[in-house]
């Protein structure tokens, strides 16, 4: 495959003739055929850098991923690059592939993964890590980066979980921190040069070195890790020119990136099977448990006019009858009501298009929004109060009042919904049984409100076990033991047993433990992931495949202690495995916020109040892009305070002078 001393010309081969006979033997074969509207089956450019964008979970989960679709389009627009996609084959398909000696393939043209220059993974959840190893192995590439030969594909990874890259550091050649839109161009240019040199012997080290110099790119092999017994001492660069810290990439203005322009329309049903339009990126509500909110600061809104164009063009092109306006807190979008109304009233939609608003904050969900949303077809409504008691919500800085929640729920029932879903976390810092049980009170009160409007009123409570995440104020918190989480779930089950209108669902406490190992692990956890994978532990996100015993065994085999990694509180001085990765937030800002949390202080949303200098804007010379000068629905953080007049606020807010990095 390697041309000696010249430009590499790969004659890419299609595996389709070998795949076709096995597809009738597997479940849902349509997920392996590609053929989506918006996909390009003729993208092969012999002299360009080839990317295989891989989602390490099933096609149904991975296909709608917007980040992956954006990069797919951007790369295919470049003359010097092209991208195809692949997804983790389900276990039945994997067995067929291994039996027939068929490697991991792209769904676009069914070419083998190891014919690509780069295999790039999207990491949206930690429990997919064993699937990452499985995909690398299925590609026929050594799973350990150190064992790869010069011409093997480069293995890359990005996405939210990349912010603690260490658990996967042994298996991934390079990580990308932050928004991918711009950095993929820099990477392509370096790799293109490497390809054109013919990838000669010894050149892998050089390309990795070159990649490590690109801002926002982390090449673990260029860093040494030192320990003092259990404790991590430092992660230090091996060469003088390698940066000691890696700062995330951030695009300044979403208006410059109206992607995806051609959202992929799959031929088989997937999750979020609808038009998805990203209306803003970032969130500064400041919820302390929320990694996504912390690492994607600042807020960058898409201009409303562009949102309208993307909705209209997208619906016409795809024929979907549902559009979802995506962001971390959709109802915060300036002028959300108008955008929803315009979509529903667009003559092209014939009044048949429904709008779904994921990530609804209750304080911004008004009767007006509810009425607009319900015009065509009522999609599911989920609100996330996250904690049952006001005390707890102050600690996590989710400053919505009970009244806010009841107003939102009332808006929903009054506009014809019969059921709302409420999302809560349990196992939060300093949570007492009263706080946990308050979840039941909230749910029951919501049912009571619903009964004023419909006899069918019900509430689904979805309960997640809290897993502390890197780059959040809770990164120092010791996660609850699974037994403790289970006890809390049982408290609620018992309390709600008699209420037939409240349905309780909970996430496996055992899976939260495995998630804890991988979320805040250091480089030593790599061998644990490898062990679990070698023992057959793939698809750990799927309850039918999850097995905590495998993880315990693997921790033992690696001589690592679950309590130390997962359930232990960290102190201020401890070196954290991700300290060399900068998500924009100063560590002392996060520590101060953690102390504020324990003290029960909330902090306001910096979109509409002065800056705390958390670092996300100040370090990068960028700022919020927000159309509306006023916070939605009467107050920052839903506390109802009028910031202009200094109106009394129901929550104690910490004086700003004490916050931030520069005291």
């Amino acid at each position: 495959m390697r041309a000696r001393g010249g430009i590499i010309r790969l004659q890419m081969t299609s595996l389709w003739p070998r795949l076709e006979p096995v597809l009738p033997r597997v479940e849902k074969p349509a997920r392996y055929i590609g053929c989506e509207d918006g996909a390009n089956a003729n993208i092969y450019k012999p002299d360009a850098t080839s990317w295989l964008l891989t989602y390490p979970d099933t096609y149904e989960i991975g296909l709608p991923n917007q980040g992956l679709q954006i990069l797919y389009e951007l790369l295919n627009e470049r003359p010097d690059a092209f991208a195809e996609r692949s997804y983790a084959p389900w276990t039945d398909m994997e067995a067929q592939m291994r039996a027939a000696d068929v490697p991991l393939f792209s769904v676009d043209t069914h070419r083998p993964a190891n014919e690509f220059d780069i295999i790039a993974f999207n990491l949206s959840a930690e429990l997919v890590y064993t699937n990452v190893l499985n995909c690398i192995d299925l590609a026929g590439v050594p799973v350990r980066a150190s064992e790869r030969r010069d011409a093997d594909p480069l293995v890359g990874a990005g996405g939210h979980c990349a912010y603690n890259p260490e658990p996967l550091a042994d298996f991934v050649d390079f990580f990308v921190m932050g928004d991918g839109e711009e950095v993929i161009a820099d990477i392509t240019e370096e790799v293109q040069e490497w390809r054109q040199s013919g990838k000669p012997k010894g050149s892998r080290e050089a390309i990795l070195h070159a990649l490590a110099l690109i801002p926002g790119v982390y090449v673990p092999a260029m860093y040494d890790v030192t320990y003092d017994n259990q404790h991590l001492l430092a992660v230090t660069p091996r060469h003088n020119d390698i940066p000691a810290n890696i700062s995330k990439r951030t695009i300044a203005d979403l208006a410059d990136w109206p992607y995806p322009r051609n959202q992929l329309v799959p031929l088989t049903e997937v999750v979020h099977d609808r038009l998805n339009v990203e209306i803003f990126r970032g969130c500064t509500r400041g919820c302390r448990f929320c990694q996504a909110g912390m690492i994607t600061r600042p807020v960058r809104e898409r201009p409303a006019s562009q949102v309208r164009e993307m909705i209209s063009a997208g619906l016409e092109r795809t024929g979907y009858d549902e559009v979802s306006l995506t962001s971390l807190s959709t109802a915060d979008f300036s002028g959300i009501e108008d955008v929803v109304a315009d979509t529903i009233d667009d003559p092209g939609t014939c009044g048949r298009v429904s709008v779904s608003l994921p990530s609804l904050r209750v304080d911004a969900f008004t009767v007006g929004v509810a009425a607009q949303v319900s015009k065509a077809r009522r999609t599911g409504l989920t609100f996330a109060p996250e904690a049952g008691s006001w005390r707890m919500r102050q600690i996590i800085n989710k400053l919505i009042t009970e009244e806010d929640l009841y107003e939102a729920v009332r808006a929903a029932y009054s506009q014809g919904w019969h059921r709302v879903k409420l999302y809560f976390l349990t196992g939060l810092p300093s949570e007492m049984d009263d706080d946990t049980l308050a979840i039941a009170d909230l749910a029951e009160n919501c049912v009571q409100i619903g009964l004023e409007y419909t006899k069918k009123a019900s509430v689904t409570v979805s309960l997640g076990g809290f897993v502390p995440k890197p780059h959040t104020p809770f990164q120092w918190f010791g996660q609850n033991q699974p037994e403790e989480l289970r006890r809390k779930v049982d408290l609620l089950r018992n309390r709600l047993r008699k209420n037939k209108r409240v349905h309780l669902k909970w996430h496996s406490p055992e899976a939260s433990t495995a998630e804890g190992i991988t979320s805040r692990g250091d480089r030593r956890v790599g061998s644990v992931i490898e062990h679990v994978w070698r023992e057959g532990g793939t698809f750990q996100e799927w309850s039918e495949h999850f097995n905590l015993e495998l993880w315990k065994e693997a921790m033992d085999a690696s001589g690592l202690d679950i309590d130390w990694y997962v359930h232990r509180h960290r102190d201020e001085g401890e070196v954290l495995p991700w300290d060399h990765i900068h998500a924009g937030l100063h560590k002392d800002f996060l520590w101060q916020d953690w102390q504020d949390a324990l003290g029960g202080y909330g902090i306001e949303d910096c979109r509409w109040t002065p800056c705390y200098d958390c670092g996300a804007c100040t370090e990068y010379g960028i700022e919020h892009v927000v159309a509306s000068p006023a916070p939605p629905n009467g107050g920052s953080q839903g506390t109802g305070q009028d910031l202009a007049t200094g109106h009394l606020v129901p929550v104690q807010l910490r004086p700003r002078a004490g916050v931030g990095g520069s005291q």
Binding site: P24, P29, I33, C35, E316, G319, G348, C350, R378
Partner: protein
Amino acid sequence: MRLRIRFSKLGKVRFVGHRDVARIMERALRRCGIPVTYSEGFSPRLRMSFGLALPTCYESEAEYLDVPLNPDLVQDQTVFCTGWGQGEAHNPTELQDALNKALPNGFDVVALTIEPKSKGSLQEAVLSCGWSFDIVGAQTDGVQNAIETALNSSVIEVDRKKKNEIVREDIRHGIHELRLDGESERGPLVVAELSAKPRVIRPSELVDVLAPGAELGVAKRTHQWIETDGQRIEPLTPSNSITT
């Protein structure tokens, strides 16, 4: 009035299941702005009905779809589009073109008519289907002999799963035509007409009869037959899209 559509499903898209085909058709109809109708109720569905369902992994040159139209927006052979197709008036040929542009590769509308709604569903009217399929792991001579033996038998028994038990069932009466049609790159190619009443007989059942132990290669439905005035006909034949 309604649209009656005959379409093909060939190549990689043969792996798309029936329910997914329905969703693909819905999206295409909406993209063209065809004045479809919806069911009443809490979550209205686009009204449409298919001929006999095609098993996943099978190809077809003869799938059928009936789509009731909003009568206010049809005049003779012209349909007035709404939604994304607002302001466009189409005759059947133009509708066929528009749908083909909106459909993914592998799906093709091969015939389309605008016609009055009739009683009874197509699904119930279909009496038999034409098939063409190849067999992997079988010798052509052996299959040829097995076909002759089968046609000369008065009873052909196959295993059939009924709830939790396996029963033997005679399918001889359901085989209207059966012949060898040369070889494909996978193996012997067979052409058959199999009855759809009282139950649908599938090519995979014939493989067990003709070459036990071998596997069905690619099966393609070539016809769906109905009866009108004592005549065995196809609801639509390719290319008859303009004449009604």
